[in-house]
Amino acid sequence: MSLPAIASAGLGRDYGSTRALDTLDLTVQSGAMVGLLGPNGAGKTTTMLLLATLLRPSRGTARVFGHDIERERATVRRRLGLVFQEASIDGLLTVRENLIFAARLMGLDGRTTREAVDRILASTGLSNRASQPARQLSTGWRRLTDLARALLHRPDLLILDEPTVGLDPEHRERAWKLIEEECRERGTTVLFSTHYLPEAERCDDVVLLANGRVVGTGAPASLMATIGDAVLEIEGHDAPRLLSVLERAVTVRLAIKTARGYRVGVTGAGDTLAKLVAASPGLARFAVRPPTLDDVYFARTQDAAVVARSSAPQVPA
């Protein structure tokens, strides 16, 4: 069986006395798509820079396709495609020149470079912008150029730090189409971070980070199932009372305080909900929906907001 794309053990990094990443034990199978989620400062970028061999670990080890990120940096780098938060695109060069530059940096010879650049220009839809100076590109096309740059040498592991930040829905869609094709058709392993949590639902696995630690990991569906089979959003002055009624009447897996009320994860509520809501006239808003990764995110990363949590089903009073 092939080696895991990423295998880290106790990986951590400090900046001075700040623990950016405490300890990370992560295994990503070859060909998987994994999302790294968490608040700003959780350690996502640090994790990615460590795996990209641009930062040295303060502790622990990590291997990329079996190669040590410290001792075999050049070998690791040949397998990587990297997209950072700021696009690594030179505005004074044309789109094509930027791609040629990136190909040369990866060590591609002249002919391979030309073929790789033509191929990626076509598959990203950048062909008719190839001769345009990159500074004239919109944010969206600039990002796609950056993505083309990271893909053109056919990396085995793609590390993307917020690849869709600031993009309009159209360009976001295009970017994801490229990334998913790369993963599903070529078998490229993808590790990405994002703050648009619905984007992470397409992952095989997500890793939730908070304060430099892993606070949750698993397939999106199984993580969402920990919230319950439905999420109630309740707002208004009756909300606290309804919450306590709910806690007695149904299985409340989790309740999160929001700006105007609560978000309550429940299981097996069924018909009782309608009756309970009818008995709470002071609700400004009431909604039932399936759990999302947003709920998981708040539950795992915003401890202060969680007002109720149960891991085992409660026995109704």
Partner: protein, 294 residues
């Protein structure tokens, strides 16, 4: 697909170690030269500077100053101005690395398989080439002031090349610790002007106070200027082998030093391990947008 990539079990097109370094250096030089010729105002500014000195300052000084052994101040200052053009061309190109650090391009280069050594080699070559070209443009007009034989031309071009290479690596060393573009203007004032003024390019350093004269002797640009004077048959302070030696050694030492200090993350020495002595919290810069950082 390259054999090396296959051998290590991947499908990446990225080549093996030897080829990748050369290709990366080639790519970096090509990019830097393309950039240099597209920044028209900077290019013209770089060319205008030496001519302003020759025409405006040179003419004025001609009327009031006589340098021993030289026919006119303009004849005396010409080799100095050639070196000045190369100094500014090379160093400003090298120092512009700080822009790359700020705008994400540096990280891309540092993450390449060839890494920091390819980056520094490529940029040094490009910066030296730009300095050489800017100096050569000034040389074109030299026959108007000085008569030059063919062998002198060759010697002058050699001296120019050595000076351009030495100042380009000096520029990289200056850029190494800089983290933002805001420091750029200050650096020109505290680095470029002293290097120029205390080099003997614009006036002989022989009659300076002892302290300044000593500083001038530590300045590598002094040797580039002196070598240029020697090449033109003007009175020179040092012998050719001495000046060539100083410039060569300076280039090698400064390049090595730059490779060490350029990106602390690229060094794998003295890392703190549990139970072992190490640098612990000695990481000087948690750079948010630098080559590295969260």
């Amino acid at each position: 697909m390259s054999d090396t990539a296959q051998a290590i079990g991947g499908s990446s097109l990225a080549a093996g170690a030897g080829a990748s370094g050369l290709a990366a250096v080639h790519g970096i030089v090509a990019r830097d030269l393309a950039r240099a010729f597209r920044q028209k105002s900077r290019l013209l500014g770089g060319l205008a500077r030496p001519f302003m000195w020759l025409v405006f300052v040179g003419t004025g000084y001609n009327a009031i100053a006589r340098v021993e052994g030289a026919v006119s101040y303009q004849a005396f200052v010409y080799p100095g101005v050639v070196v000045m053009a190369a100094l500014f061309g090379s160093m400003l190109t090298a120092i512009s690395t700080v822009y790359d650090r700020e705008f994400g391009m540096l990280r891309l280069m540092l993450a390449s398989p060839a890494g920091v050594s390819a980056l520094l080699t490529g940029r040094a070559i490009a910066a030296a080439a730009i300095g050489f070209v800017q100096g050569a443009v000034v040389l074109v007009f030299m026959p108007a002031v000085l008569s030059v034989s063919l062998s002198q031309w060759l010697a002058v071009l050699g001296a120019l090349a050595l000076g351009a290479v030495a100042t380009s690596v000096l520029g990289l060393l200056v850029a190494a610790p800089l983290r933002s573009v805001e420091n750029f203007a200050g650096v020109i004032n505290v680095v470029l002007f002293p290097l120029l003024f205390l080099s003997g390019a614009l006036y002989p350093t022989g009659r300076l106070p002892a302290v300044l004269r000593a500083v001038a002797r530590l300045n590598p640009v002094t040797y580039a200027v002196d070598l240029m004077r020697l090449a033109l048959g003007q009175p020179a302070e040092f012998s050719a082998p001495w000046s060539i030696g100083v410039l060569g050694v300076t280039t090698l030492v400064v390049f090595g030093l730059t490779a060490v200090v350029f990106d602390p993350e690229q060094r794998f020495v003295g890392r703190a391990r549990p139970g072992g002595p190490g640098r612990g919290g000695a990481e000087p810069n948690p750079p948010p947008r630098g080559g590295v950082g969260q």
